[in-house]
Symmetry: C2
Subunit: 111 residues, 2 copies
Amino acid sequence: MTYSKTENFDQNSRDIAKVCKALAHPARIAILKYLAEQKVCISGDITTEIPLSRTTVSQHLQELKNAGIIHGEISGTRVNYCLCKENVEMVKSLLNGFLENINKNTVECKK
Amino acid sequence: MTYSKTENFDQNSRDIAKVCKALAHPARIAILKYLAEQKVCISGDITTEIPLSRTTVSQHLQELKNAGIIHGEISGTRVNYCLCKENVEMVKSLLNGFLENINKNTVECKK
DNA sequence: GTTTTATGTCGCAAACATACGACATTACTA
DNA sequence: TAGTAATGTCGTATGTTTGCGACATAAAAC
């Protein structure tokens, strides 16, 4: 009865919320930054760069993969992760479009 | 013991994650869109525009307020909410900076 | 002063997210 | 084919979010 009424909102709002949800944890931001820093796609030894257990990092990677932001390519026992050009650009234009849109009717708030 | 190790990540990553968290629900996106549509700041009768109870909408408004994205001004029994120019722009540049940054080392993923 | 109107806050229940140890899987290596 | 290394998945404990009814508050209307 309670919870999860997301289907009552329009697709664009849900898309934006979904992308933001994927980015809504510092570990995932740190992972993305790390991937962006590397010349080559890097495997799951991201663990050594992130102060979390391997299991947890793996889960965060799955979430980023589900959101389509990263991509993992199997190579032997390793998995090479990388940022997906198309999807990162999709995210960029989705968020930019939204922020540009709401930026039209803002008000000065001294606060 | 478990959970919430966010303090182990750098400030920028936490800031980005925080903003994204505020945007990580379709209701909040819908609320922001609605606010952007209005000529004047609109009070909590946003309820009629959003398929959720007044209580829940009120809570989402609080979250957006906490994130500094909107601002509520009391006027009698009403509260006029509006988008904060400075903060919306702050969010824009924060997210743009990050996305621009990670966009440098992406890879074509046919998928 | 009582009623109405617009809001916010509390407390609860259900759903979801986070973190991790233990186990399973898969491929390379000797 | 046994051993190791890199990963993923499961189960569990705990914290957080979502959604709402019920109550509290406070200004305006009468």
